[in-house]
């Protein structure tokens, strides 16, 4: 019994850590998935709106009841992934502040140097910092 519960715990931990480590989609993957799953629906319902400024996703949202089921699932996933990435990119300087002070002394913040340094140090940085680097798509 004891052994079983251990396996269950280990399994749950493994699952949790995989889902925590799961990367957000690359921007290319996000664009490709939208085109693949929603291309025909975009032509049909959203042919006059552009990709930027939330117009396309907004149009798909408006037409969510009409688009193919696969399109709906996938554009919702793309939207969530893009939002998660944007939040992670925003959060890095807050979540990695202590790590930056420790591992990246003297590096000028505000450009890519600090992010590169944190990515290089990512084996040693705190868990939340490491996770936000992953979610931001910076590895």
């Amino acid at each position: 019994m004891k052994m079983h519960s251990w396996i269950a715990v280990a399994g749950a931990l493994a699952l949790a850590s995989t889902s925590a480590q799961a990367q957000t989609m690359s921007y290319r993957e996000a664009g490709a998935l939208l085109a693949k799953s929603c291309g025909p629906d975009i032509r049909k319902y959203c042919g006059t709106v552009n990709l930027g400024s939330g117009k396309l996703i907004g149009c798909l949202d408006t037409n969510a009841g009409k688009v193919a089921a696969k399109c709906k699932t996938d554009f919702v996933a793309v939207k969530a992934s893009l939002a998660k990435r944007a939040m992670a990119q925003q959060a890095i300087f807050k979540l990695c502040n202590a790590d930056a002070a420790r591992f990246c002394q003297g590096i000028v913040p505000g450009d890519g140097n600090l992010i590169s340094c944190l990515v290089e140090a990512s084996k040693a940085v705190s868990k939340p910092c490491n996770q936000t680097i992953t979610d931001a798509g910076w590895r």
Partner: protein
């Protein structure tokens, strides 16, 4: 079809050209992240200082001052060859700035490269280019709208810092193949690295 060529080593301008052949979801966009990053990272010592305003003015000047067959017009006054750059083929609706779904992945690839830490400290100019079908003024306008649409997608949907990007429509003033000015290869979007953000 995907091809790329490295032009003269001194220029080290890596030109990547990608054609998404119509065919909806099956259109391939096999431009690797590393290739784009490399193309945009190759800064040279003799690269001219380029601003969006100066480039826009150069295109307008050329369109108004030099008529005649495309193959005999002088080059654009600003030497863009020396800038680190990539060329991508983006598919738009006919006579419109609406980006077609088959090019979403390509724009995503550009966004991935612009988010790469090695490029985060740099500014870029996005140019739109047409072939010689249509009038030169119409082409300037349409290409500006298309470059704007690409920039809008990059800075909103794909979260690139807007302070890093500017868009310029070059119309038919910077043809890739001026001998065959209606060659579709001329219809392209270029991304140029124009130097450090600050």
């Amino acid at each position: 079809m995907t091809w790329f060529a490295v032009r003269g080593a001194s220029l080290a301008a890596l030109v990547l050209c990608l054609t998404a052949i119509g065919g909806g979801a099956s259109a391939q966009t096999d431009l690797s992240n590393a290739q784009i990053v490399q193309g945009l990272q190759n800064l040279t010592q003799d690269a001219p200082a380029v601003t969006a305003a100066s480039l826009r003015q150069a295109a307008l000047d050329r369109a108004t001052m030099h008529s005649g067959p495309a193959s005999q017009r002088p080059p654009l006054a600003i030497q863009l060859d020396k800038l680190a750059q990539i060329n991508v083929q983006i598919q738009f609706k006919l006579n419109s700035a609406i980006i077609l779904p088959e090019s979403y992945a390509t724009i995503g690839s550009v966004a991935d490269a612009l988010h790469n830490p090695v490029l985060l400290g740099y500014k870029f100019i996005i140019t739109g280019n047409t072939d010689t079908t249509g009038t030169r003024q119409t082409n300037l306008k349409l290409s500006q709208e298309r470059a704007d649409a690409v920039m809008e997608a990059l800075t909103t949907t794909f979260n690139v810092n807007p302070a890093r990007l500017e868009a310029v429509g070059l119309g038919e003033e910077a043809l890739l193949d001026s001998k065959n000015s209606e060659n579709p290869i001329n219809r392209r979007v270029q991304i140029f690295n124009v130097g450090p953000l600050r």
